[in-house]
Amino acid sequence: MSEMKNIKNLKEFSTSADRFEGANLLCPGCAHSIIVREVLNATNDDLILSAATGCLEVCTAVYPYTSWDASWIHIGFENASTAIAGAEAMHKALKRKGRLKQERDPKFVAFGGDGATYDIGFQWLSGCFERGHNMMYVCLDNEVYANTGGQRSSSTPIGASATTSPAGRVSYGEKMNKKDMLAIMAAHGAPYVAQVAPNKWKDMIKKIQTGFAANGPVYINAMSACTTEWKFLPEDTIAISDMATDSLVFPLYEIIDGTKLNITYRPKTVVPVEEYLAAQGRFKHLFKDEYKYLIKEWQERVDAKWDYLQRREEASV
């Protein structure tokens, strides 16, 4: 049985034993480290971890150092999911053959950025979910290839200026809408799929613990505000994250067994999308007169999605 932590407040949380050390090279204000600590701190169980090539990987395992006090593997950009699935398969085999060194059953968790998840590692992730490995995949979704300097991914939202879809004299930046990974992963029939945000840590811990208790592949889409590429001050990470969840640009919900959708956070006061966009340098150009229609369209899309999520929840489908 899984052993989950019972954490009542942030102080208790912050003094909880770390398996992800603060000694890492992530940018000051990076949400990745907050999310990873929240995931790892949700359980007392042993953990076997993997990471895709990306910010988290290059900043936490630079030889001869490691920030990981749990077994951890990185292979490449696209295959963090399959790396952990291979380890999970080995655990199953050795357990059956009676060759495990310890009786304890660890949790298997893979981390990947949105580039590794939405784009290059999509096939590997889909394969792992179809095969039903007992694993959790956490996408650290900062909506951009941050590690390589801010290129667009299929998670980059419309209107964002990225280095391969820059805003310019005749362009408003990214032209495509963000891919709906949660719907896609739920469509795999996964027992648990959820969107989380580091500022809503209680909601997040609850979801991670639900995920750890599930039997089968679990997908967690973690909104990860990126001070460097979203262009806001490092000390504003949580404030920006609050705007992301309270504007419903990042609605927090879960989908159980592929269909049953629950909204897990309803902001008391909904923040206009415009405020969320205005707080980030990557959307600065949208406030020119000729692009303001995009902000309006964005608000309409967020409203429509929120309405859709509520109708899904009400219908319990």
């Binding site: 030889y63 077994s71 696209e78 790396a83 291979g86 380890a87 080995m90």
Partner: protein, 406 residues
């Protein structure tokens, strides 16, 4: 517990079945695989063993060859015996992970059922895939027939899993010509086969929960060279003694002798052909016919492709006057790989044999005895002249005007 399979002393197996049986007998813990012609039957046979109770390891049928090797890497790092099989395009898709497997020093066994690389698409046997991965840091064995494909798998596990080695090993065999051609294969009992390889001894295993490890780190200009140098050093210095010891142990167990370089009629050979795969057996037969005609003909088969057996090759050609290197892969704008490796090996050796190269058999085109007779005729002329009497590179067995270069 998996059931024991009762085998006859000699079974009629093709190379794919031979490889699959070896994987079953060493009780691989995780096979992550994806089917591709002509290696598909390795995976199918294995699935059949599983379906009938002969396997108690995990069998993960993934969605691509890249995922197959990725899964193998994760499983191997977790700490257990791991193997898979592939060919050609699948091998090409795997290449990224081949380097990662060897750089992470994981003892994975890969059966490569050699096949041409597209385009044009072709499912038949040549060595294009083998050549593609030759610098990937894997130890690489070459089997010339199903018996060898069987035997070399046991040797592969024994060498790979040795804690002084900790490198992955490929066992190559020719697509269709070996993989789909059934021959008599002398078998080991399940117990004898498993005991030769022994229980897997984990090292730096992720599943040792009391001793967490970090696999697959980042190194830049400060440490990358040292890691690569150490791997190369181990390949150059540590691997051959381990291979030789494993060959010796295998000979003691089975009576079947393998050599790092296989020499046939080479003691007094004046003209010699160097090749790999099924071509070796054809060349040996032709060399015997040449000897009946009074030509001192020999054959050298490359058994260990990586690490390249520099010293053994240099010794093999003492007294030789003319050598032909036969490459079954298009060099695409260069001399063939075997030609280049031999030239590099022999340049400072005592021999001053004339070295010429031939490109043959692409996409499964037969290497006929008449082609080999022509090669030996060229070699006799080269030996008599003391210099090349032909172009340094000839394409043989191809239609159209004669293609020769250099």
């Amino acid at each position: 517990m998996a059931d024991t399979m009762e085998l006859r002393d000699i079974e009629v197996w093709d190379g794919n079945m031979a490889a699959a049986q070896a994987l079953r007998q060493v009780q691989v813990d995780v096979v992550a695989a994806y089917p591709i012609t002509p290696s598909t039957p390795v995976v199918e046979n294995y699935a059949n063993f599983l379906a009938n109770g002969y396997i108690d390891g995990e069998f993960v049928m993934v969605e691509s060859e890249h995922a197959a090797m990725s899964g193998c890497i994760g499983a191997s790092a977790a700490g257990g015996r791991v193997a898979t099989a592939t060919s050609a395009q699948g091998y090409a898709l795997m290449v990224e992970t081949l380097y990662q497997a060897s750089g992470m020093r994981l003892p994975i066994i890969l059966n490569v059922i050699n096949r041409a690389l597209a385009s044009p698409l072709n499912v038949n046997g040549d060595h294009s895939d083998m050549y593609l991965g030759r610098d990937s840091g894997w130890i690489q064995f070459d089997a010339y027939n199903p018996q060898q494909a069987y035997d070399l798998n046991f040797v592969a596990f024994k060498v790979a899993e040795d804690h002084d080695v900790r490198l992955p090993v490929m066992v190559h065999q020719d697509g269709f010509m070996t993989s789909h051609t059934a021959q008599g294969v002398k078998t080991l009992s399940d117990e004898v086969a498993f005991n030769f390889v022994g229980e897997f001894q984990p090292m730096n295993d992720m599943l040792d929960l009391d001793h967490p490890v970090t696999h697959g780190v980042q190194t830049e200009e400060d440490w990358h060279f040292e890691h690569k140098a150490r791997q190369h050093n181990d390949l150059m210095t540590k691997v051959f003694p381990k291979i030789q010891a494993a060959f010796d142990a295998y000979e003691a167990l089975t009576g079947r002798k393998y050599n790092i370089v296989e020499c046939y009629d080479m003691d007094d050979a004046e003209v010699a052909v160097v090749c790999m795969g099924t071509s070796v057996e054809t060349a040996v037969e032709v060399a015997k016919e040449q000897r009946a005609k009074g030509i001192k003909a020999g054959v050298v088969g490359i058994r260990v492709i990586r690490p390249w057996p520099f010293e053994q090759i240099a010794q093999a050609f003492q007294g030789c006057k003319a050598i032909a290197a036969l490459d079954r892969s298009s060099p695409n704008g260069a001399p063939g790989m075997l030609y280049n490796e031999l030239a590099g090996t022999l340049y400072n050796a005592a021999t001053r044999a004339v070295l010429t190269g031939y490109v043959y058999g692409l996409g499964g085109r037969d290497l006929t005895k008449s082609l080999l007779n022509q090669i030996y005729a060229d070699l006799v002329a080269n030996a008599a002249a003391g210099k090349p009497t032909t172009a340094l590179q000839q394409l043989i067995g191809v239609r159209g005007p004669k293609l020769e270069f250099l």
